[in-house]
Symmetry: D3
Subunit: 253 residues, 6 copies
């Protein structure tokens, strides 16, 4: 069930059975010559939506602009400052716990978000820890590509050139989700360089077309469908454990 497609009485009813919710969290940033700027938001969003439809677990809105300062030398990339993101995530968390949600699972689509999400969790827990109060809420984050089985699937599909940014896998997932947005671009070099980076100028100097280590011209909607299918199942299994509730009867929608 998607929170955005539910009415409040439906959410109220859901909370009687389950106090868990998934927040897809991504980024708005360049993904190389043929990748979508929305890739990191789209991937967790589509995986979560499919898992929510199958399981009945509730899927919240997508946190769609994250930490992408290093991508800002490429047109269309957007970033929050980490301190802003910590504040925003805490407002999201406080809103949800107010209703009784006590298991909030962030399905993350962007490596650059991980540390700030973790810092935001510590900011939230600190309210309780400094107060000598026990926090009734558990927060969790998971990168979709680290769900059990997903890494193997991606390596099978793209034994060479899956890469680290603008990966063949993530581009494939977005092509599956939005086939009308498929782009055909020749990669040059075939496989992008690898390395590290600091700010946006440094990133662009090191990775001139935005990719790191990848050949995303291998991406197809079909391969994306396979990745999503594996991810969906793995996500449902994780949620079942984390929420401590069996998947619900499928929502009406």
């Amino acid at each position: 069930m998607l929170l955005h497609h539910a009415s409040w009485p439906e959410v109220e009813a859901y909370l009687k059975r389950c106090k868990g919710i998934v927040i897809p969290i991504g980024s708005t940033e360049q993904h190389g010559p043929n990748g979508l700027v929305g890739t990191d938001a789209i991937c967790p969003e589509v995986i979560a939506a499919e898992a929510g439809a199958e399981s009945g677990f509730l899927i919240g809105p997508t946190f769609n602009v994250g930490i992408a300062q290093h991508h800002l030398a490429f047109a269309g990339s957007m970033t929050l400052r980490p301190s802003t993101m910590i504040a925003a995530l805490n407002d999201w968390i406080e809103s949800l716990t107010r209703h009784g949600f006590d298991r909030i699972y962030f399905l993350n689509g962007h490596g650059g978000n991980i540390t700030t999400i973790n810092a935001a969790f510590a900011e939230y827990y600190a309210n309780f820890s400094l107060d000598a109060a026990a926090c009734p809420v558990r927060l969790s984050q998971r990168n979709w590509w680290e769900l059990p089985g997903v890494g193997d699937t991606c390596r099978n599909l793209f034994p060479v050139g899956d890469g680290m940014h603008a990966t063949a896998s993530e581009v494939a997932v977005t092509y599956y989700a939005h086939p009308q947005a498929v782009k055909t671009v020749e990669m040059s070099p075939k496989i992008a360089p690898t390395g590290s980076f600091t700010d946006a100028a440094d990133y662009r100097r090191n990775f001139p077309d935005g990719r790191i280590g990848s050949d995303p011209s291998q991406a197809t909607a079909e391969k994306g469908a396979e990745i999503v299918a594996v991810s969906r199942g793995a996500l449902i299994a994780e949620l079942t454990a984390f929420f401590g509730v069996q998947p619900l009867a499928r929502a009406a929608e």
Copy 2:
């Protein structure tokens, strides 16, 4: 063109022709017994997406959680604190202007956002005004229901009970956008009460099922389609004037 479906070279090319972008901005909050929690985000999102597809103007990601503290007594509602929203909007704006965007148009779907968006604009302009520098960027916000012609259309479709919150119009737009989420609920009373509110407890006391002045059981996807069609045209006309650029050849997608 949707920013999330574009590649960075496509955005770079767009910027050579036009420096304007639309940001749909909404809220995640209860919309009565048959309205979607995502209504205020979905409405500007669908109108902007259709206008972007027709005109080629660029549509950014949706800012999907806004100022909704007064709805928090209804399950599923989420809010930012205004100070958080000001910080987040300024990060969005600074990201976009970094690429050369100098006309940013927020298409708003939630009355409760208006004042904080305006404050965020003042926060941004103040950087320049305090610096004795001329700001090269113009920011604009518009409620979709105030686009020319939209009010008349809604009044024609719903002469009685369109209302102020969980309006028949906005619910109709979401039913058009997401027909699988249509909900059939009998309203009681037929038309909700009107009045004012302060915090969440006060709101719920005054408006027990969340609606203000509306009978959204009148909403249908067909009526929503009509509203979107009028809104789309009016939005393109506004953007043409604000961006100072004629609608572009339709994007490939």
Copy 3:
């Protein structure tokens, strides 16, 4: 009664009869060739002071620097950033509610403040709404020129060229309040242009002498007296309703 002229035992006694207080809130910003930089603070201050003297309702200190980034290209204008103003207003509100004040009425003198005041209110209410607690306090803001009857009075006095900024009305009120500060300046053009603005440079470009749509050379202390008299009465009526208490015996002072 003015809070600044009261002793704490007098305030304590007041609180036994009434839990309401008025905060005049304005701005320090240019008001054209013959208008005072303090106009927007002086107007609500004088109206509130007279209403307080007549009714016995308590009038707090004037919040005298507001959101005026757009006026900074004119010497003497001062601004807060909106995020600062939200923090400051919340400290004022928390201070007052600590003593038991539960109706705080901001009498506003500056259009540019409206949205940030509203955001500050939402920031305050959010503390309760996110906590699932009912807020015992009601906050209200009102522009003095929108008090019942004031608009008509101004239109009668200045049928042409009252304008939008550095209005004949507000200048008249300040001349009444501070007759020693009356300034005689020929306006050129007679009536200032109208339009919109963004930052300070844009404002000055559009409105070279600071006025918008007004001819404040019509202002006189006598006309100001008339406006204040109408405003005072209307304010007392509003406070009586909002505070839920009849005007008190006039304070000793």
Copy 4:
């Protein structure tokens, strides 16, 4: 000249002769059984206004709510948090320096403000120091009771029981400034206890009627006039030195 009573062209003209401005800064807090809640704002305000009228130096608006958390157990007291006050003072300073003011003199009326004003200055200077830029602006604060000659005057007038808070001197100054607000209250004990304090509860426990070490029943408007006269002269001398400009021809007003 009062900034609030000047027009922007008058301020512009002033800046050609002098780049200095005085900001009276006080507090809104209890001042014992017969002292005004506004005492700490009124004292610097009246001294500065008289000095400004005599010298032509420019006097800005009064910063009227300061650091008074320790007074909050007495009705009517208001406080800013120090972090808020630092932000607000920096906005005031940045606004003024934008126009070319490069000597800003805070005439302080409240001991509790001193450290936060100093911290605000460091916050401002740090912008330059961290940037390796030379700051063209000098900030200064002075307690009015420490102006040369004022301490002697107060000791002469009140050889016994001038005290530390709700002093006879400051109450006298307010009685001079606002004779209609004079209050006759018997003090018990005649002279209040002395000591230290932490938060508001601790303060009230130690100083049950709000005074520290004072017998303000000695205050009269006449004695206040004498204090103001000495303070006015001393202030003009200090401003002449700090601004590096001789007192200007008296402003028209």
Copy 5:
């Protein structure tokens, strides 16, 4: 060379040869029954100090309170909120870069700090990235136990029960650094449990004596000496590469 033991002319001279500096960064938090509350600060401090003495590279002050909200149920633990730590680290970084330092290497002693340090780096880089300016500074963090060779050394010394928190290795390092603080405590159970945690109450419930997976009763000053020796060499090698400068002649001290 220790910054705290250098004079400013010595630092100025250093900067002519090398623009790199090391900041030891740790935490103040419980480390089980026989571990020091300062363990995570002491470890990087002693390793950095020895490396600095041998190589002449500059070692700054220790950032000694970090992110330890989860340890607050054990007496003596202290934490910063992540948002505070981001602000503080940025002030440290801006101070250092002001002098020309362009390689800042944080030698970290606490796993809980990693994500917030990373977020602080992004906060710093974002200033440049949003400004379309190239950042001349490179920031790096490294956990001391991940320096090349250190893990092997620890595994050799403590093949069983080195653990994850209050590890035998880190306790050994502190015993070497401060032999007068060695504590002899029997562990029960011999090896602590492992698992995850959220806030402080959850941590204490899961790990009753504070240890995770470790038997720190194996720690001795001798073993600590060995770990420090390996760490010192590995650190010098890393700094040589990161600073791009050969180790300097040993400082006079």
Copy 6:
């Protein structure tokens, strides 16, 4: 007892006997030609450590970077912004009070910190004062050179040229604490000028080698030992009074 050298059970045991703790607080800033950059942190640290060892009172970690924006024109100086320091100090205070510490004594080594520490205290107390709650905690700060007897000792040792910054006294204390860091530098002029300052550029212009009014070439480790001995005794006496507990049996270490 040093917190950093204690285990949590030792701290827990301490809290049963005493709820007081000392936090040495200093700065990292230039101290003239022969003074250490760490002087202001080292002085309170060594005095507190010796007092803690003798008395058994608990000594926390040193807050080692303070308000030193005015020293940034000299290499190696570091600063926090005052707003950052207020936030950090409040996190330290909240951490300690969480464990039951209710007397926190900051032994300060840097004049520039005083006002911001005081503001931080007001920020902390305001939480209680605005809440109408009594604060159970007392915060205190003391400059080590103002401990009873210390001023006399310093004047005896250095009748001429002790000075105001980079004083002979404080340099002597650091030479006692770290004899390997003694530096022999001829002072020119013998005694540094005195005066005031604003930002870093102004400071360096007025005080070219960093000293104010001092001749620190008089400093020796022996004189430092004498100062520390007097300070240690005076500190123990103050703590005994402030904590309301007799010095404890000396800790094991």
